[in-house]
Amino acid sequence: MSVEQMESTTALTALRHKHLLSTADLSPEEITLVLDTAEAMKEVGARSIKKVPALRGKTVVNLFFEPSTRTRTSFEIAEKRLSADTLNIAIATSSVVKGETLADTALTLEAMAPDMIVIRHSSSGAPYLLSRICRSAIINAGDGTHEHPTQALLDAFTIRERKKRLSGLKVAIIGDLLHSRVLRSNVHLLTTMGAEVWVCGPPTLVPTDVQRLGVRVTHSIEEAVRDADVVMLLRIQLERMEGAFFPSLREYFAVFGMTEARLHLAKPDVMIMHPGPMNRGVEIASEVADGPYSVILDQVANGVAVRMAVLYLLAGGAADEDAA
């Protein structure tokens, strides 16, 4: 078949938006497109030469205002495997005057005309600001306590890989819900795909309006874990906490920690997930994190494939050019 004749048979071949800012913007078809594309990308990572020429000549800037090891390296590997030129800019949060400096940085970058900007910022909404200033496609790699879309996509990919579906699964998300951008991105994505999402944490760490996201809320880890297909632990983010949210880490572990005893309440083929980095002995017991139900390292490996898929799909631009 010639290149000119090649036609795809699937309904959707492109994302509707130019940027990836929030999983709330994604339809079920778009999520499926990203996950299907990621499956093809995962195979590239299994080759001896883990590189394809797809994004040759494209420039991607990784703009990290917050420390990050796994997300930044994951994006960088994904970009290199697609043959994009990458530029890493790490800026210490302390030196950033919020708002104005970000806009100035964005304009400076804009002058270098990158095709895509991957941004991590401690302020919620920073990627939105960038998307209004820059012509480049913006990928949100985590903004404050708001969203972390590629994490949710790689979580969904990991779940779908094992369970072959997302709809109808009981997914329990347990931990620091208040400060978690992973929570928000995952809830949007999983509810869009028809999963039954339960969230659980101490009342001080549960956002007041969380029910509005379409999840069930409980303060009993036993209720959350019972018959769950997937248990996702969220890190207790001490660095974002000002004040006392719970008496002690030991008490947190006793009441909300994922232990082997609690594991038995879940379905026999339960998957244990954690976006990392983990606080062992706080939100998760070491035996569970390293146990046979844990897919935590699969999540890291799948992150590269999912980010390759997102980069590839956004490099073509939007199906309907959105004004935003």
Binding site: M1, S2, Q5, I49, A319
Partner: protein, 179 residues
């Protein structure tokens, strides 16, 4: 909408190609088939089946998606990306004779992409190209080693290969154009 090959003709053609492969390679030693997605894949499987019937040997068979190697991928400033499908080559291609299979040979650009992709998988002893239909109009110096049917066409026409596995029936149809 003239049918240029029907199911019987396609079947006989693929059997003939299987015999040609054996003749040229003096057997099945070191052979492996790689089909180019989408329709090269079922054609490769059918040739593997023919080779098995004739020789009794299983020939390793894989599927190659060339999307990430296309030369028109980043040509437009904005446009939807072509869909990427999974490549499945579950064997080493090092020192094997690779039979690359596609349905239609036209400009040769798909074959160029497939050759680049294959080379990234290893260093085959050689690569031989099998196509069901060669419709001419090459834009690159590429030639098939095994051709099911040479079909003179005009660039305005399009050649549709339909296969049981993907389309529910076996036929090759010539569409459009003045003739």
């Amino acid at each position: 909408m003239p049918v240029v090959m029907d199911a019987d003709r396609i079947g006989r053609t693929l059997t003939r190609i299987a015999h040609e492969i054996l003749e040229r390679n003096k057997g099945v030693d070191e052979l492996a088939l790689v089909g180019v997605r989408t329709r090269g894949v079922p054609i490769a499987r059918r040739i593997a089946r023919s080779l098995k019937e004739i020789t009794g040997h299983d020939i390793p068979t894989g599927a190659l998606d060339i999307t990430l190697y296309r030369d028109d991928l980043m040509r437009q400033q904005v446009g939807p990306q072509p869909l990427v499908r999974r490549t499945e080559i579950p064997f080493s291609i090092d020192n094997r004779k690779i039979l690359l299979v596609d349905d239609v040979l036209y400009t040769g650009r798909t074959t160029r992409a497939a050759l680049d992709a294959l080379i990234d998988f290893g260093r085959p002893k050689n690569i031989q190209l099998i196509v069901l239909v060669d419709r001419g109009h090459r834009e690159l110096p590429i030639k098939a080693d095994y051709v099911g049917k040479n079909l003179p066409t005009s660039p305005e026409e399009s050649v549709q290969v339909r296969l049981q596995e993907s389309d529910g029936s076996d036929e090759v149809v010539l569409q459009g154009g003045a003739a």
